[in-house]
Symmetry: C2
Subunit: 450 residues, 2 copies
């Protein structure tokens, strides 16, 4: 699998083998492929073909492929299975975090049926309790499979525990140390276990200085802690500090990427999580809301401009600089809100009062407004646009930049205080309002000066 | 350190201890703090205070703090040390990837002096060879410290090797298996080593199915492979498939975040990597370029509008819908380019020809243009804006959305082919051109119809 890419040729070759049901050949290829690659192949398969390939996979690989599928592909794939089959052929072999993700994608009724079909009562209770946590909190991101050892054990007992859990816990990075009541006391790295003597007490080698999170800690905070301290996994505890799960780097990496994508899409005016590969109508549907809000904003602006019809008729050059002032206000607003949104997302904006931050934003806006107005003034003087209109442009440009910058910084901060996603401030509604504001400032100034 | 946050009170308490040089108290606090937290504290210290705190840290923690500092803080901090001190007090204790990062931040002359001051010739040769790789390629991200074992060894020898390397390699996740010529053959997980007997041959338990990258593989591809296959570390090989380093999840997590931040800032028109906490003039400087390009675009638009002065004088309502058509073209363009940019960044846009993708974008744009024009038509009919101007708005809106969408999708794809960062397409230059295009379409239509 060294430096392997799924090429078009490879994908066609596999498809041919699937269609001709060349089982031995296929089995050997599938054996060498990573679940993520098989999942990628599934996207070019018909349902029948995907089901045939599934039948050639062992339990572990089958559930790994399922976990790697895109949600919409997984949904249509699972429709070929009964609730009982989903429970017995998939859920029972899945790690708890993947199982919970799968259950939360089903409609509640079917999820209930699937859980009821699980034979192991302890397992179904565990999944039910895990489903209670919000998707984007530590409890929703964690898996319950982990290796934990008692502080009173020695390294031999610890190795034995790893052996017994080895099948269930696919990736072991750290061993968690607990007391008799399951209270998290610390960690031991696998490296230390490899190097220690079998008779060494865990209490002698464990590290008590451990970073943990609560089940209700937000995904953002989990990500920021793991990134800050370079953690490969972070333990999750309940309110009594009892160890209930762990979150590994790969889940957090996915989370970070999804959050960044969401903020990016908000800024570019796309309302759903879409990809280039999605269907035309999905892409179109994701993009229409912003366009329609923008259209509405445009109609509003036409009404504002219409209100100043006389001024324009008297002085047509007033129309020339309308787009300039609007766009500049819009740009300045997007800049200041996106810096605040990014700061909140990366946790570099720390708690505190809003006023000093607005003061700073005012200073930044003041400098930028002065520079831009000076350039506009210079242009007005060397060109032949006229003295009066130059004054109007300079004053309104100056006010629009300052006003839009302050609003741009204020809105995400306020949204964040009310626990609303601050990225909304970079969305179409606010940016369209900003444009209208610039336009209004422009005409009011024009009315006053001309 | 459980659920520890650096509060203002804590930071002031530490600062007081530093100023009064309460050494024993401080040493015990510092001992319990993670290097990342100490680095955070450094940002509120004067240089003198930072140097005093440094003197209380052991070698390992000192270099870890240095590696965690923000680049600008690190730069001013290192100015208090001679090249010889930088080599002996810092570089010699650092992991190779941090050492290379540090050297590349120094000016080339000083970097040369520092390397010359390293006593261990092998170490200086290694760093010199690592500095040759581009920052954003696998070779620039990797560390050379890793645990490798010969395929002919047994588990006992492997454990012994881990013991000997334990001090140099702080985090061990995987043991790399090589032949006598250092050719990468596979991996053994620490879990397998813990569970295997001491006499077991490595050749019996190693996994030959290993994903690796070349030293010149791009950081994006490294990140996408590690994310796709959920790898905690990835081995880096040279052209002869010899193992030369490894990249761990934390470095890739930082890389992914930085790349996402860059794309976000490009989209919001910010030209440098800035944070809310930066100085006013830094923030201002990062934001002025886009504003000035926008200003230039505004002046251009005033000239375009000026060219249609007569049309506006004859029919003032033409001015009313100017911002609408401009903004809609701009919005549609940003949407289509940001989807392509994100697709390229996440590797969901696969290689292939441009034409089918433009065809798809055309379909999406067609639907959106039809819907928006239909809404505009409806508005024109129910309001009293007039029959002719409604026709102008609908036709130009339709053309502007389609044209801007196609350009928006085409430009990042073309930039990518020429190995230029496709995110540039979401930058101010292209978006301003898009606005002008919409304006031009509007007036040409207006001129033809009215």
């Amino acid at each position: 699998m060294e430096n392997f890419h799924i090429t078009k040729e490879f994908s066609e070759e596999i498809l041919a083998q699937v269609r001709e049901q060349r089982e031995t050949e296929l089995a050997s290829v599938l054996d060498r492929l990573h679940a993520a690659d098989i999942a990628e192949l599934f996207e070019s398969f018909e349902l029948e073909e995907a089901l045939y390939v599934t039948s050639l996979l062992d339990d572990e690989k089958r559930v790994n492929v399922l976990a790697e599928l895109e949600p919409d592909v997984r949904e249509s794939y699972l429709q070929s299975f009964s609730s009982d089959q989903i429970a017995k052929e998939f859920l029972q072999h899945m790690e708890s975090d993947d199982a919970v993700d799968l259950l939360s994608e089903l409609d509640p009724e079917q999820a209930g049926e699937v859980i009821a079909s699980i034979d192991d009562r302890e397992h179904s209770l565990l999944l039910t309790s895990m489903m209670r946590y919000p998707d984007d909190a530590a409890g929703g991101l964690m898996a319950s499979e982990l290796i934990k050892v008692n502080i009173n054990w020695d390294v031999r007992q610890c190795t034995e525990e790893i052996r017994q859990q080895a099948e269930e816990v696919s990736k072991v990075f750290t061993v968690y140390v607990v007391d008799d009541n399951d209270i998290l006391l610390g960690i031991v790295s696998l490296k230390q276990i490899v190097l220690a003597k079998a008779s060494t007490k865990i209490s002698e080698i464990f590290e008590s200085n451990v970073v943990s999170v609560n089940a209700y800690t937000s995904g953002e905070e989990v990500a920021s802690k793991m990134t800050k301290y370079d953690l490969v996994a972070i333990p999750v505890v309940d309110a009594l500090n009892r160890l209930i799960g762990r979150i590994t780097f790969d889940d957090v990496m996915d989370f970070v990427r999804e959050e960044a994508d969401k903020d990016y899409q908000m800024l570019s005016g796309i309302s759903e999580n879409v990809e280039v590969g999605d269907k035309v109508w999905v892409l179109s549907r994701a993009r229409l809301p912003w366009l329609i809000i923008g259209l509405f904003g445009g109609v509003m602006s036409s009404i504002v401009i219409g209100g100043f019809e006389e001024e324009i008729a008297r002085n047509v050059s007033l129309a020339f600089f309308m787009p300039l002032v609007m766009a500049m206000g819009g740009n300045a607003g997007v800049q200041s809100s996106s810096i605040v949104v990014q700061g909140l997302a990366n946790n570099t904006v720390m708690g505190g009062s809003i006023l000093p931050r607005l003061g700073k934003e005012f200073m930044v806006a003041l400098i930028n407004a002065l520079v831009c107005s000076a350039i506009a003034l210079l242009y007005g003087l060397v060109s032949k646009v006229g003295y009066e209109i130059t004054i109007v442009v300079c004053i309104s440009l100056f006010s629009a930049i300052i006003f839009a910058s302050l609003m741009g910084a204020l809105i995400p901060l306020v949204l964040d205080i009310f626990k609303i996603d601050p990225a909304l401030a970079t969305g179409p509604f606010i940016t369209t309002s900003n444009d209208l504001l610039g336009l209004f400032i422009y005409f009011v100034t024009g009315h006053a000066v001309l």
